[in-house]
């Protein structure tokens, strides 16, 4: 080696983007990847091209995680969602870069998206222990009964993330699903999956139990079909589907009467409202006689 080493630019370390399933980072079981480019066609990375089997594995992971996550206290879910926001803040620069590449935005425009996305996590984190009070409650029964209507998560939700808004849109469809105690199988934007795959890395370090959110990249139509038809998926958000695919998937979803959210135009910068929180909630009404304190001591 010589002393006359020329000063060369350091060769950066590429990241192998992987799926996020059951708290782990597997490659697609199919071994397939596809090229992800930026808005100008420059190669960014090879993303896993998930198979039907990956989709089914993700459902198994989501189902396994459901009991624990739905059964966690709303306070704990809020703490964990807030932790996600904290971790995102720490990786803010990375997401700004990824969103800028993905959506062809300037750094400052991309930063607006990322900041809004982080703030959205915080917003939903605060909802976990409030939604039950807003949409549930006691009912004034005309008779000697007490009853209480309570929202409960519907179960495993398949989420077709928006195709255009690779991060703010993504966050806006994932956070409400898990805030209420559901678990999610998310199909990332087909063209711009990298922010979603990186989000998996954030979730993995935010105390979110493995399997609560599972992120798949690949061809939306290929992955969505088995999810829409899956008998152990309770609901599907079709946001990332075009009109033709959405209809096809809604028909398949009827087979076990999944709760369906149809695609609609959304401005993700606007105030979200609570519709996405209530979309994947069931209402359970529990009754009990109030009894009386009469001589018999009972009024069943």
């Amino acid at each position: 080696m010589s002393d006359k080493t020329e000063k060369t630019e350091r060769l950066s370390v590429f990241k192998t983007y992987k799926l996020y399933v059951g708290g782990k980072f597997p490659r697609s079981e199919s071994g397939r990847v596809y090229e992800v480019t930026d808005s100008k066609g420059k190669w960014l990375a090879n993303a896993p091209q998930s198979s039907r089997k990956d989709a089914r594995d993700a459902v198994v992971a989501a189902r396994k995680a459901f009991g624990g996550w739905a059964g966690a206290t709303a306070y704990l879910r809020g703490q964990i969602l807030y932790r996600v926001a904290e971790m995102l803040e720490g990786r803010r620069d990375q997401f700004v870069r990824e969103v800028a590449d993905a959506e062809g935005l300037s750094k400052s425009k991309a930063a607006l998206q990322v900041d809004a996305a982080i703030d959205r996590w915080v917003w939903y984190a605060g909802w976990t222990d409030k939604i039950a009070q807003v949409v549930g409650g006691g009912n004034p029964v005309a008779g000697p009964f007490f009853n209480l209507s309570t929202p409960e998560p519907t179960g495993v939700v398949a989420v077709l993330a928006p195709q255009e808004s690779s991060f703010l849109g993504l966050v806006s469809v994932i956070a409400p699903v898990i805030a209420t105690g559901n678990t999610a199988v998310v199909i990332a934007s087909e063209q711009s999956p990298l922010p979603a795959l990186s989000l998996g890395e954030v979730l993995a370090t935010s105390d979110l139990p493995g399997g609560v959110v599972n992120v798949l990249s690949g061809r939306t139509a290929e992955i969505a079909a088995p999810l829409a038809a899956h008998q152990d998926v309770n609901a599907i958000d079709l946001t990332g589907a075009d009109e033709v695919l959405a209809k096809e998937l809604e028909i398949a979803a009827a087979d076990n009467l999944k709760r369906v959210v149809r695609p609609q135009a959304v401005d993700y910068f606007g105030p979200p409202g609570i519709e996405r929180l209530t979309a994947f909630l069931e209402t359970k009404t529990v009754w009990h006689p109030t009894g009386s304190l009469g001589a018999s001591g009972s009024s069943y």
């Binding site: 009853n147 209507s149 309770n234 809604e250 009827a254 009990h288 006689p289 069943y300």
Partner: protein, 483 residues
Amino acid sequence: MASPKASAFEYAPAPESRSVVDIAPSYGLFIDGEFTEAADGRVFKSISPSTEEVLSEVAQAGEADVDRAVRAARKAFEKWSALPGSERAKYLFRIARIVQERSRELAVLETLDNGKPIKETRDADLPLVAAHFFYYAGWADKLDHAGFGPSPKPLGVAGQVIPWNFPLLMLAWKIAPALATGNTVVLKPAETTPLSALFFADICRQAGLPRGVVNVLPGYGDTGAAVVAHPDVNKVAFTGSTAVGKEIARTVAGTRKKLTLELGGKGANIVFDDAPVDQAVEGIVTGIFFNQGQVCCAGSRLLVQESIHDELLDSLKRRLSTLRLGDPLDKNTDIGAINSAEQLARITALAEQGEAEGAERWSPACELPSSGYWFAPTLFTNVTQAHTIARDEIFGPVLSVLTFRTPEEAVAKANNTQYGLSAGIWTEKGSRILAVANKLRAGVVWSNTFNKFDPTSPFGGYKESGFGREGGRHGLEAYLDVR
């Protein structure tokens, strides 16, 4: 069901008078405020399932009639939705009051057309119908405060298809919230029970309801399918079987129609060893024999803790022996007729399958009337979770008895079904009620009671029992443009 020992329970016949209701020999469709014949002139007969007597001949709506009704509803929507909520409210209050005034007549009519005991139509169906209209009437001018944002908008024309088990009550569950929120309605009653909906059309006229706000189209499944598929319908609400519900979900896929479904069930009624046996037995009987078990939220699976199985079954059998089956118009009748020959055939076939698969069948000594459609109260013991009678909705007076040892096992068995509509819990231990209720995947959980309904309380299912809620504040959402 006279047995020598039960002689103390012999009753003289006490029939409610039929003269309170005047059933015309024929009825038309109710479109745009007028009774009218079907475009193609088709009619069908509605019979009394307890006697097989023809009650009336009813016009059968076809596609052309559906189209005409939807147009009428669309036309009426403009003015109806623009009315101040306080005015819509007053129409609904009027309807509630007229239902109350005519409740005896409607109870007798419903009992004749449906076959259910007068005791039930008089004391359950009709009071709940009136209460439902009264409840939603009050919402019409308070929608801003219902939690769906400021001035939530109606959807438009609601196509509603209802079942035969609670004809007028299901009509009320559908029409009251739809009108309160400013929608107009095309309603298809079931082919075996069209009459009370047609009487309701007359009530709308008495109430001065604007033409076209409520349209009633009797017919069979194809009529319902045409209502659901009509391109100018904005909202579809269906109560009925899960199979048809899935078909409807496929039909509206890819449209902007909002859908709510209230479908089948296979409710678990869980009895723990510390439950007061007599009360539990009453709850079990109410759970599965109310309305001859033709109830989507029936407690059709009895899960009894193993240690009290024999004691509970003895009491239950003793109690079933005192149930009085017969003339639905008799005020002492507990068990009326099955709604149709078709339903009777289905119940019969499933019960036979229960026997064939090895479950043990029992019914009290019970004489069935010679005409009409009847099925004796029946229970099956030695039922496993794999048995068809533990999985399929029978929709009849047939109870499948299973056992469990631990609360965890009870919950696992209760949830082991495609359905998720109702469940019951019987125990004296409060914390156990709350823990078990928490784990049950069902939309309505009755603890130490069963089959209680109230207009303020949301009702509806998890899983394949459907989606959306009817009743209460929650019931408004189905008819508002909120997502």
